[in-house]
Symmetry: C2
């Protein structure tokens, strides 16, 4: 059986949980507590699974798969139905661009280790750290909203009327935005897709609060 | 003909240039000066191509492709030979994980707009901004070096003995590391792959100094 090493609040792990649920793949969830005991991701046993000390890691037999987007592409190739990418190259490029605009342009700036470095050694106080988070989310969501508004892009989901890799990335990012009180009113398409997704069991069951390690 | 909107020093554009060269695809290079006149990426005409105001953009007929990794996956699907991804799903996942460990975990923290925000409003001075860059590169390269050292990974290139998507990402990141004087001695595999790649015409011709807009 697949084994997912993750953390309830990790948005990268959340992405993979959505993909696993959508493809109806059973998996065992193995919590890695990112804050307890200085962070379980730094333990010798976890570092053997992933030298980058980051969740998620998906174990498929002897394979240790890392990086959420690489994991989802792997699941797409090994379990193609239902698909998380369209068939035609142009659509696939579009969905990947939407996903990467979150995974490269927003999320890396707001993850745990970056927020910690801003606090120490850079001595950026709490309000300015929150403002940092909101700044990058607002910049990224402004771009994403414009991309989603382009012809042939958003429907009920980011790309048309079925979930794709882009939704796997968007929904966890909206959760993060809510945590730092980033206003979502300027992004009506993002807001509409979020509301629609969270009514679907595939997404709701992947949410942080629904995980066994939720606090 | 393909048209690549880029900037000689952009490492995301550099990635795509390597892929285009490797696949022997002719393209017209259209420079977008990221610093002149407040940044040409903010112009109305460029924003119509990419609302995210980032290079590169690859135009293929009416298609406007954004996000360097999505562009390279598109080139791989539309021009599969020579390949930049292995055939088997496990190898593809490995190559994508190496590429994403650069594209998500290192590069986003050191790009132009982030360095600017650190300067203003955060008032982080030059030495501490350089230290910020070196910190994330060192953390990322330490993880990457360990991944490359794992069985079945690095050969002459990041994955075996032919270029892949991972090398498209690694070489531009090494250029960035050199610009901020990040020591590379702790990463002998990365150093060896870099030296090997830069002796190949495909990589050398993609380098910043070889571009028409180089300064």
């Amino acid at each position: 059986m697949l084994r997912l090493h993750g953390y309830f609040r990790s948005s990268a792990a959340f992405r993979v949980r959505i993909a696993l649920n959508y493809k109806q793949l059973d998996y065992q969830s193995i919590p890695v507590h990112l804050l307890r005991d200085g962070g379980e991701q730094h333990s010798a046993s976890f570092r053997q699974r992933n030298p980058a000390r980051l969740v998620p890691v998906l174990e498929d037999g002897a394979l240790m798969l890392t990086q959420s987007l690489a994991i989802i592409e792997y699941l797409e190739e090994t379990h193609p139905t239902p698909a998380l990418l369209p068939r035609a190259a142009a659509g696939r490029a579009r969905v990947r661009a939407l996903a990467l605009s979150i995974a490269c342009d927003i999320h890396p700036l707001n993850n745990l280790r970056v927020m910690r470095y801003l606090k120490s050694p850079l001595e950026i106080d709490d309000p300015r750290r929150d403002e940092w988070s909101r700044h990058w989310i607002a910049l990224g969501f402004t771009a994403l909203e414009a991309m989603l508004a382009q012809p042939g892009t958003a429907g009920d989901y980011c790309y048309g009327d079925a979930p794709t890799l882009a939704d796997c990335c968007l929904i966890p990012q909206v959760f993060n935005a809510q945590r730092v009180h980033c206003p979502l009113e300027p992004y009506p398409i993002i807001g509409r897709i979020y509301d629609h997704c969270m009514r679907q069991e595939v997404f709701a069951r992947a949410a942080p609060a629904a995980q066994s390690d939720a606090e």
